[in-house]
């Protein structure tokens, strides 16, 4: 037990610790500084929030009690929303799966094509649903058709990414083992790859069903159908008590779909 080397070691340990702490302090300072600048830039004013509170309170007062008389006319838009969400979640599967196949690093051969597909999927998913909807509405007009298409486009990109990541995450040992038994490519696919990724795929689909329901509720803001349209009209007409009824309806169906989706997902994984 050499005391000198022991001392030196403790010294270096303590210094290391200090450096780690300083790093954290630095990061925190940077975050605070950036946050402060962001607040200034965006005009985020706490005093303004306080003085603006009466406005919010005002709005709340005009929203409650909710006007439930409009409930009957909500059924149509709500159903539209659910339909859009359903199609917007299921149709992309047919595109996302083959595209994911083309671009997964461990099973594709053509790198150029694979990269193009990957970029394509990236663009699809980076553009938000609402933006797609707006573009499509300006192309073909209002209604649920552009809305559903918007969801399909965006979801193809999002699901595609999950799908190819799942393929890339397959343990190569599983494939190896199958190939060692003399199985051909097709059998490896059917009995090795598909059983592994299928639960993940199903979980992703259910997840996006929930996301798309939420997205479908707001597509109406740009005229793409669903209950978002009713909500927008209510707000534009200053009928806030009707608007809040729409909101309650939205929260309700989202909660229901959330529950169903979570339940089904727990059975899948």
């Amino acid at each position: 037990m050499n005391n000198a080397t022991l001392d030196a070691e403790i010294d270096s340990l303590i210094k290391l610790r200090q450096r780690v702490l300083l790093n954290w302090l630095f990061i925190l300072t940077v975050i605070l500084a950036v946050g402060g600048y962001a607040a200034w830039f965006t005009g985020f004013d706490i005093p303004e929030l306080v003085t603006g509170w009466p406005h919010i309170w005002n709005l709340l007062k005009r929203m409650f009690p909710p006007d439930f008389s409009i409930v009957p006319i909500l059924y149509g838009p709500l159903i539209e929303t659910l339909q859009m969400a359903l199609l917007g979640t299921t149709i992309p599967i047919f595109f996302a799966v083959p595209l994911a196949w083309l671009t997964a690093v461990n099973i594709r051969e053509d790198h150029v094509l694979g990269n193009i597909v990957r970029l394509f999927l990236h663009v699809l998913r980076t553009i938000p649903e609402l933006l797609w909807a707006m573009l499509l509405v300006s192309a073909v007009g209002l209604g649920t058709f552009p809305g559903t298409l918007a969801l399909i486009l965006h979801t193809t990109g999002s699901m595609g990414k999950f799908f190819y990541e799942a393929i890339e995450a397959i343990d190569p040992g599983v494939i190896e083992a199958m190939e060692a038994t003399g199985a051909n490519q097709f059998k490896v696919l059917m009995f090795g790859i598909i059983p592994t990724v299928l639960p993940i795929y199903m979980s992703v689909v259910l997840l996006y069903w929930e996301f798309n329901t939420r997205a479908a509720t707001i597509l109406g803001l740009v005229g793409a159908g669903g209950i978002g349209l009713t909500l927008t009209h209510a707000i534009q007409a200053f009928e806030y008590d009707e608007a809040v009824t729409c909101l309650i309806a939205i929260v309700l169906i989202l909660t229901v779909i959330d529950r169903i989706s979570n339940y089904l997902r727990s059975k899948v994984i």
Partner: protein, 268 residues
């Protein structure tokens, strides 16, 4: 699967359950019914798609090539979007810690925990865009209602994730620290927090990415950022400018996405 010749000791092969049970057929029928009803309801059909093709083509022609005209007008919205995303993530993450703890079943009292979880469910039950809409109505146009809207949603989601992380903490190390005679807050800081921190940071980074994406479209309801510029350009049919904004948006989100991936690898 006939029994082999001479192998009479083999037990009879069990019958494979049929794949076409009544239940499954019923589900399939229901599904097809719902599906065709949806297709009808949304007007989505191959015919409609084909009819729409010329319109899409025309849109595409209008949008390309992107125009750099008036590009100096892009600078502010771009930065606004960036900072809305950053600010909302910081505020949301900061509040997510205390609220997340209060919402954790193993740390907090049912009287506090249930209402908080309920409130959080409402916060994230509604899309950020709707929150933004409401805030715009309440406090006026500009980026601030956008930040507020994103904060509310972020707190809703991140607090729940923190609460779940706290509930999933391994109680063993906590017990061990307790036995050393450390006071409760020290027990928490050394026993529980090291388990929660990596998850918390992962979520925070993930939501920075998400918040920036949402920030780009909040402008549609007047809450600032690139969205607002986009809305304007499309309304006046200047699609080439819109494309530039869209490209800028994609670049921003991709950059943040990559940056977050890099940071994540340093954390875990």
């Amino acid at each position: 699967m006939a029994a082999e010749q001479g192998n009479t000791d083999r037990p009879p092969t069990p019958e494979m359950p049929s794949r076409f049970t009544a239940n499954r057929m019923l589900i399939a029928v229901v599904f097809i019914a719902v599906y065709s009803w949806s297709v009808e309801g949304t007007g989505l059909s191959i015919v409609a798609l084909i009819e729409g093709l010329p319109d899409f083509w025309q849109l595409g022609q209008h949008m390309f090539p992107p125009s750099l005209e008036g590009y100096e007008e892009l600078w502010v919205p771009f930065l606004e979007t960036l900072f809305i995303g950053i600010l909302a993530t910081i505020i949301g993450s900061v509040f997510a810690i205390p609220i997340g703890f209060l919402g954790a079943a193993n740390l907090s009292h049912p009287v506090i925990y249930y209402p908080i979880r309920l409130v959080l469910t409402v916060f994230r039950g509604v899309s950020e865009v709707i929150w933004a809409l409401l805030f715009v109505v309440a406090v006026g146009l500009g980026p601030m209602p956008g930040v507020l809207a994103l904060c509310i949603f972020a707190v809703g989601v991140q607090s729940k994730l923190v609460a779940e992380a706290v509930e999933a903490v391994d109680p063993g190390p906590l017990e061990a620290i307790r036995t050393t005679g450390a006071s409760p807050w020290k027990v928490f800081l050394y026993g529980a927090w090291p388990q929660v921190l990596p998850l918390y940071l992962t979520y925070a980074l993930y939501y920075w990415d998400h918040n920036t994406r949402q920030a780009t479209i909040l402008g549609f309801v007047g809450a600032g950022g690139l969205g607002q510029k986009l809305l304007w350009d499309i309304s006046v049919y200047e699609f080439e400018k819109a494309t530039t904004s869209i490209v800028l948006m994609i670049v921003l989100i991709t950059a943040i996405d990559r940056f977050c991936l890099y940071l994540r690898s340093k954390i875990i």
